[in-house]
């Protein structure tokens, strides 16, 4: 139905062949943001090599098949690409109308995680397994929060009623974000909470909501953190775990070990690295969770500053182009969605790489595109689809 909108704004006659339609000057293919797409694809492929290097010897988890994780990572990338295409085909505006359904579904799935259907991994109950397929609903919640808040905040502005969202709308949007965040808090998944908070901030920032909201929210966050620390809501070991990124001695057997080994792996890479599959830290499996949260250490050790820097550069291209998309779209809805995705990607990448470099606390967050993990991979590719959709649907003149 309305989905065809996504492919062509000007709507030429149907007699043209599919190929020529795709190749036409105003076609979707031509108007896609290719730097984003290619960078994201490159990140996923680099990721597959790193995941393979990290898992080919880990017989305990790869079930005796050295290619187990490599094949799945490539499959996930393929599915991610398909999801992106589907998202472009549907278009972000169609999805705007589907927000209530998406929102309801993702909250429902997250609640399911808390039931006996959910799995606990590394102390976090954030997995849903059924029929051999595992899912992390929290990954998709990031998207629904962005879409939902954008829908609420942009509705009256895009309708031309207001210049900026009013307080009531902001409150409604915050309320919408709070429900899935509370569920995530029950899991508890600290990393996702942090990302969600940053997404909310990014969304509010881009929505043009009053400065008071932005700074108020920031202030509340800082106050909250201080009170958690001062009022001893967390046990000392929890605080130590959190702080161990700066001082591994605080938790030498746990997080401190991870950060220390991660830092050794990255540091030992030097300029050009030890060469793919030749890192002693990686081969010796000294860094835990190396195919997921600590995948960047493989790049650091085996590809060195050159390879790790390339990953940063590719992430930079994705984020830079995303910023352009946010600035150039004419409707606030698209702007907000793009900004939410930027906040999400930027923070998640910063947190993930930062923790391997010892400048951020350790939290279980995957590196977008690179880390192994289906749910995360699907979510980031859907986000790429949204960004493409926003770009494709802006007027050609822009």
């Amino acid at each position: 139905m309305a989905g065809t909108n996504g492919f062509s704004v000007s709507g030429y006659g149907p007699e043209r062949s599919t190929l020529s339609r795709l190749m036409a000057r105003d076609s979707v293919i031509r108007r896609l943001d290719w730097p984003i797409l290619l960078s994201a694809l490159a990140l996923s492929l680099i990721g597959s090599a790193l995941v393979y290097s990290a898992t080919r010897n880990r017989t305990v988890i790869n079930q005796g098949d050295p290619y187990y994780f490599l094949i799945r990572h490539l499959m996930n990338t393929g599915i991610g690409l398909a999801l992106m295409i589907g998202t472009i085909w549907l278009g972000h505006r169609t999805l705007r109308t589907a927000v209530p359904i998406l929102y309801g579904a993702s909250v429902f799935l997250m609640l399911l995680v808390l039931t006996p259907l959910g799995d606990t991994i590394n102390g976090q109950r954030n997995w849903l397994s059924a029929g051999g397929v595992s899912l992390q609903p929290a990954e998709f919640a990031k998207i629904t929060i962005i879409l939902g808040m954008a829908m609420l905040l942009a509705s009256r502005v895009d309708a031309g009623d207001k210049q900026h969202p009013d307080h009531r709308t902001v409150l409604q949007a915050l309320g919408l974000a709070t429900v899935p965040m509370l569920v995530v808090l029950l899991m508890p998944d600290l990393g996702t909470i942090m990302v969600a908070v940053i997404i909310v901030l990014g969304v509010l920032l881009a929505s043009g909501a009053s400065n008071r909201w932005v700074f108020g929210l920031l202030g509340a966050g800082v106050l909250g953190a201080i009170s958690v620390w001062r009022l001893h809501i967390l046990d000392e070991y929890q605080i130590n775990r959190f702080a161990a990124f700066a001082n591994p001695a605080l938790d030498p057997a746990g997080v401190g070990y991870n950060t220390n080994q991660a830092r050794i792996a990255i540091g030992s890479g030097g300029l050009t690295g030890t060469g793919l599959f030749h890192g002693s830290q990686t081969t010796g499996q000294f860094v835990p969770e190396q195919q997921t949260d600590f995948v960047f250490t493989v790049a650091g050790e085996e590809l060195g500053f050159a390879g790790a820097g390339l990953i940063l550069l590719l992430l930079g291209v994705v984020l830079w182009r995303a910023c352009r998309i946010a600035r150039e779209t004419t409707e606030l809805y698209g702007t907000i969605v793009a900004a939410g995705i930027i906040a999400w990607f930027a923070f998640q990448a910063f947190e993930n790489i930062g923790m391997t470099l010892g400048i951020m606390p350790v939290a279980g967050l995957p590196l977008p595109f690179v880390s192994y993990g289906g749910s995360s991979m699907f979510a980031v590719w859907v986000a790429i689809g949204l960004l493409q959709s926003i770009r494709v649907q802006r007027p050609m003149s822009a």
Binding site: A206, G208, F286, A308, G309, L319, T335
Partner: protein
Amino acid sequence: MTNIPETGRTPRVQIRLVILQILVLSLLLTLGGRLWYLQIRNGAEYAKEASGNHVQQVVSPAVRGSILDARGVPLADNETRLVVSASRTDLMKMPDDGKAVLAKLAGVLGMKTGDVTEKVRLCDAKTPQPCWNGSPYQPIPITDEATPKQALQIRERSEDFPGITAEPEAVRRYAGPGDSNTAQVLGYLSPVTDAEIEKAKDTSSPYLRSDQVGRSGLERTYDKELRGKAGVTRYEVDNLGRVIGRANSDKAETGASVVTSIDSRVQGVAEYELNEAMKAARQQFDKITGEKYKADSGAVVVMEAKTGRIVSMASAPSYDPNVWVGGISAKDYKQLTGKGSDYPLLNRAIQGQSAPGSTFKVVSTAAAAEAGYKWDGGYPCTSSYSVGGQVFKNFEGESFGPISLGRALEVSCDTVFYGLADREWKKDGGINPKGTPKDYFYKAAHQFGLGKTTGIDLPNEVTGRVPDRRWKKDFWKANKDSWCRTGKKDGSYVEKIAYENCLEGNKMREGDSINYSIGQGDTLVTPIQQAMIYGALANGGTEYVPTIGKAIISGDGKTVRKIKPQVKAKLPITNATHKGMDAALAGVVTRGTAAWKFGGWPQDKIPLHAKTGTAEVYGKQTTSWLATYSKDYSVIMTISQAGTGSGASGEAVRKIYNALYGVSADGTIDKKKALLPSPEKNLPKIQPDGSIDAPTIKPYEPADPSPSPTEQLAAVLGTPVTGRRH
């Protein structure tokens, strides 16, 4: 929905989007900066840490080299014991952590299963001994006393004993060839300390926790050569310590062997005769103290006169060096070092010092000649010498009239040397000398090498002492407080001495110089210093640094490093003086103080030279010295609390010469019986497989110990017949 108002792009949103972009950029720059800091700036440091992370070393000990005598007879070597070890790495790979294998092993070895499992568990804060405190990658020894049958059972059924090895391993052994012992010269090994492990950790030859290190004697001096180089196998391991590969490894290198100049046969003779002499002395009656001689300790040195090489060196009392092997027990250790022990670990040949008595007169004679006194001048040998009311007596009041320096040395006339030393003291300005005193007698002692170590290749040699002006000053400074506190003008002997010392102990007094000239008083010498001095007299005046090590031969016998004789000093004597002294000291053997013990010696064929000495020790019986030399060797024997030099050691030293040159009791020479008529010049050969061509050794068979006629006479008279001298 498609109606997009331009109002969506308010300046506020635009500005905020720019802010967002800047934030994103700064986050990426932060990561890039940190990445540069870790990888480029500190990369080398982390690379080092990474290699330490994943490489584990397994050190296999090198076989310690042997200590050989001059003809290749092993004095210290290794014997093989069967050691059964378990590899923890292999055991931990088994589903039950190797429990079944260890239980089976316990059965074969006849041990309790619990004992075996305790031996392979790793030590930590909570685990009490027994436990393994070495590297978990190291094979852990379970027993070093496996029988060949047990070892065979384990090796033939290796599939039943995965991770278990039964290997022959080298353990130190002090062979004691020909009933020799050589304990103090060889020294001993004891386990390496934590500090030493830490120090050697990053060197090319790290220590194992089970390593032994030379602590004394040759084992210590040549520890580095003997120790060889431990082999290091480097394994790459993963985070769980599982071996995932092999890095470059170094093979173990067998330690080099040290060839010594010791002749184990002569060593056996020297040890035996020293003991016999001490036993005999304990049967003798001491007129001064009114009881039998204690003869509590003694030493003998046989040195090659022309090289300084030690042919034998014995110290009594001694002990069996094998008590150290495999770790010394607390009881044994106490017996060797405790207060009640007679300190058998001391090598009295280099660590025992006493006044030299009349053996010092060679120094005084040389000093007198240097000071310008004519060799043939008539020096009055009166029965006593008086200075300011103090009377210094000649031994037993003898007098020989005016005699030459040579004759004074030969008959050991104290009063001649008293007179000369006194004149020099006065010439130097008496008690308050002006300018720089010449101090001929003290200078000569230093030139002879007294008052400092000889530099022999054994640890902890003592210096002895020359009581010159500087020493007197230092000694006075250190003791004057106690002297001045306890000294009394009219008190006991000790109190009087303390009183005098308090007043002018820092000055060279007349009596000091007089006493000094005949080797009494504060002078201290060691047997090795005497051997060096008399060896120099034998070779014409060149002092060599005494050495025991003769060559270092690598484990495969291919590389040989010779240790060459080193000249230490030239004696301060002219050829004429040397000739005179040589003749005088030969006279001591033929008609002087040692003649009664060398009756019938074939002096025309094998000229011997000797000087006897009897040193007074306050509160103890006299120390006997007998310093001798032939053209090839100097032989020194000293026994503490045993009377005179000739009386206590004459026979023993003669028997050592008998053995060296093949001389029988009646003076006939049988060259076939001679053990070492001239010093050994060749080095033993070590085959590439490490075996040595060494002759077999028969224990020393002493000739019939019937007393000589003169001795029988002496026993009847209760005192030796010929004149005894200091």
